[in-house]
């Protein structure tokens, strides 16, 4: 099979959320001697972009997004070890500890963000719902994360986003982690007010945000990055 066909097949496997097909195609791509970085950028990522576009247009839904994210992760696990060391700085990556704020038992928005970020190459440590500030921090320390992402669906739980930042400052850890926030009641103004490093309104925006943040100066940022698309 030609290179173009293989890359298209990989993209389609991601769109269809077919993990086995994605892994098999990834292996075929490696056997064919195709540049692994190109396979991710011109194949798998295109598939993920397409499912994201369909999601925004109500042509695909959360479960399909999750399956695509799982397929993306499975194929990148196969491809990543073969990326040459001099190419690795072209790969966006980072470890993200994500969860819903303490007292918050909602997780749909957080799940969408975790799925898309995972599919985009980030290593995701999903803490689930009702996560205390100290648990976020302990997990970030344990896995040596780059980013802590806290979601809140309730106005009364969004205060924990501020407390997370204060906790990191008081513990002398603020310079170790980017803090990004989101959720239905969360606004860019709130993100700026509490000194978060970033805010994104949508899951697709969260990926854009993290890619920008990871490539930028070390935390904490002097100005909150806002992705409002």
């Amino acid at each position: 099979m030609e290179k173009k066909q293989l890359l298209e097949q990989l993209a389609n496997a991601i769109v269809e959320g077919d993990g086995k097909k994605a892994v098999d195609t990834a292996r075929a791509i490696l056997e064919a001697g195709i540049d692994p970085l190109e396979a991710i950028q011109q194949g798998a990522t295109k598939g993920l972009d397409e499912i994201g576009r369909r999601f925004q247009n109500c042509e695909a839904f959360l479960p399909e997004l999750i399956l695509s994210g799982d397929a993306m992760k499975a194929c990148t696990d196969v491809i990543k070890p073969h990326i040459r060391s001099e190419q690795k700085d072209q790969m966006i990556s980072g470890k993200v500890v994500i969860g819903s704020a303490f007292g918050d038992i909602h997780d749909i928005g957080k799940n969408i963000v975790a799925t898309i970020l995972g599919g985009s190459g980030f290593d995701i440590y999903d803490m689930g719902i009702n996560v205390a500030v100290k648990q976020f921090v302990a997990k970030a320390e344990e896995v040596q994360a780059n980013v802590i992402a806290m979601s809140s669906l309730l106005t009364s739980t969004s205060h924990y986003q501020r407390l997370l930042i204060e906790h990191l400052k008081d513990a002398g850890l603020r310079q170790k982690y980017y803090v990004v926030i989101g959720g239905a009641p969360v606004t860019p103004e709130w993100a700026v007010k509490i000194g978060a490093d970033g805010y994104a309104r949508t899951a697709a925006g969260a990926t854009e945000l993290l890619k920008k943040i990871i490539q930028g100066p070390p935390p904490p940022l002097t100005k909150t990055l806002v992705v409002n698309n």
Binding site: C58, F61, L62, D107, I129, P185
Partner: protein
């Protein structure tokens, strides 16, 4: 009246039902909804050109599909990772025993929440919004301003932003304290408005069970014979111990329960058709699992976290029609507007939302969720009054008439749902001494009201 014995049986099931992870549950819901859409011929029935359905047979098919979905899926308990199973007999018994009407409030403020049917000329009850974040220093004034509009029958209060200047952190003793504090503030607002007997949803500041435990039914500040307990589920066909704590506390207080939930277009239920069906199933589940006396549900569209677009209104109306045609369940339906005070967008969204519910048979409607409840103090009494007027004025319109009106209004805002006009705050739109709206906000209200009259909504001339 909810029963402790029944509650304990539900708790037993939450500890003994089939095991399932949250992720498996979501995927299973998606698959089952897809199967039901196929089985009942409901795929692609969403009609963007007609946001209000007027096909009774279609609404009844949605009901049958939702009923089957509720029984086949059961209810997922987040804390035990188990499924609370239900049989058809359980469900039928729960539906039979549901109240056909509720007498709420007392004295001059007493109202009756009654089951309605689509196109019912009897007006639904108007319920004020809930969940907005309100500054402590204007909390009483704002609620006084809402309650003084007698078009509004029930008060559903906002969330108080601070307690003596401190954020009421969810799940901490601050939250327990704010439960009682908010009940006190709301009671004072009702007294100032001259409506001490107005039925009230006492504790909105309760993301976990602590707020409710701290305020609801507490002697001197909350009367469980007058106030209803608000119990919000975390998602479609899902419960948790936080929710079940609130249920049993309400039972202990001898109170009526109103249970809310959301069904997400784009989420696990999938398309608008799936969200409508899942919402029907979730309403039935609220009765069968949480013993709800009334439900206060909504549809959300995950793309913009509101529901005033075509898909959202279609799903909202379809589920309200399905429930009101096939059961006598009572509901105070929620709509999710995104425009802010002093914007035409908000008033158009409100009009669409209230007309949809009124002609679709909702027994009550809550409105509005100004600014998506996202900005502090971005809500005013005037849009609450406007919602009540439109809701009641539209009672008796046919669904076809309602559909023709909303078709003209939706295009005025649908392209800005992802970047809505957030408008102005209560403080910017009102004279806080007289509780009168600014001329700008009043003129806008009168303009849109006149526009609705011209479109055929029977409202009193401004």
């Amino acid at each position: 009246m909810a029963s402790l014995e029944y509650f304990l049986k539900i708790m037993d099931k939450a500890h003994a039902g089939p095991i399932c992870t949250g992720k498996e549950w979501g995927m299973r819901l998606f698959r089952t909804v897809s199967q039901k859409l196929e089985k009942y011929g409901l795929k692609k029935t969403f009609d963007p050109e007609n946001p209000i359905n007027s096909d009774d047979e279609l609404a009844d098919r949605f009901y049958q599909a939702g009923y089957e979905l509720a029984i086949e899926m059961g209810t997922f308990c987040q804390d035990t990772d188990r499924i609370i199973t239900l049989t058809a007999e359980d469900m039928d018994q729960a539906l039979r025993s549901a109240p056909q009407e509720l007498t709420l409030g007392r004295g001059r403020d007493l109202v009756i929440l009654k089951a309605r049917r689509p196109e019912d000329p009897h007006p639904p009850l108007a319920v004020s919004p809930m969940g907005h974040l309100i500054s402590e220093d204007v909390y009483v004034k704002l609620h006084q301003g809402i309650a003084q509009h007698r078009e509004i029958d029930l008060l559903r209060s906002g969330t108080v932003d601070t307690i003596f200047g401190r954020p009421p952190l969810a799940g901490t003793p601050y939250e327990t304290a704010v439960g009682g504090y908010q009940a006190e503030l709301t009671r004072e607002a009702l007294w100032r408005a001259g409506r001490p007997g107005m039925p009230n949803l006492a504790i909105a500041s309760s993301p976990t069970a602590y707020g409710q435990l701290g305020g609801f039914g507490v002697a001197g500040i909350s009367d469980p014979q007058l106030d209803m307990a608000l119990i919000l589920a975390p998602g479609e066909l899902t419960t948790s111990f936080e929710v079940l704590h609130k249920v049993v506390h309400a039972i202990n207080c001898g109170a009526m329960l109103t249970n809310g939930y959301s069904s997400m277009i784009g989420g696990y239920p999938g398309p608008p058709e799936g969200a409508a069906m899942t919402r029907i199933a979730t309403i039935l589940q609220q009765r069968a699992v949480h013993q709800a006396d009334s439900h206060c549900g909504s549809i959300f569209d995950v793309r913009y976290l509101g529901n005033c677009g075509r898909e959202g209104q279609w799903a909202e109306g379809m589920s309200a029609q399905a429930i009101s045609r096939n059961t006598h369940l009572l509901g105070e339906e929620v709509q999710n507007e995104l425009g802010g005070p002093c914007t035409e967008m908000l008033l158009h969204e409100c009009a669409v939302a209230m007309i949809t519910l009124s002609v679709s048979g909702a027994s009550g409607a809550l409105g509005p969720r100004t600014s998506g409840s996202k900005y502090v103090d971005h809500i005013t009494p005037l849009e609450c009054k406007f919602c009540a007027e439109v809701l009641k004025g539209a009672a008796g319109l046919t669904r076809r008439q309602g559909n023709e009106i909303v078709k003209k209004l939706i295009p005025t805002y649908e392209n800005i749902l992802r970047s809505p006009h957030i408008g102005k705050s209560f403080q910017e739109c009102y004279d806080l001494k007289t509780l009168d709206p600014t001329p700008e906000w009043r003129d806008l209200y009168l303009k849109v009201k006149k526009e609705l009259i011209e479109l055929g909504v029977p409202l009193a001339c401004p």
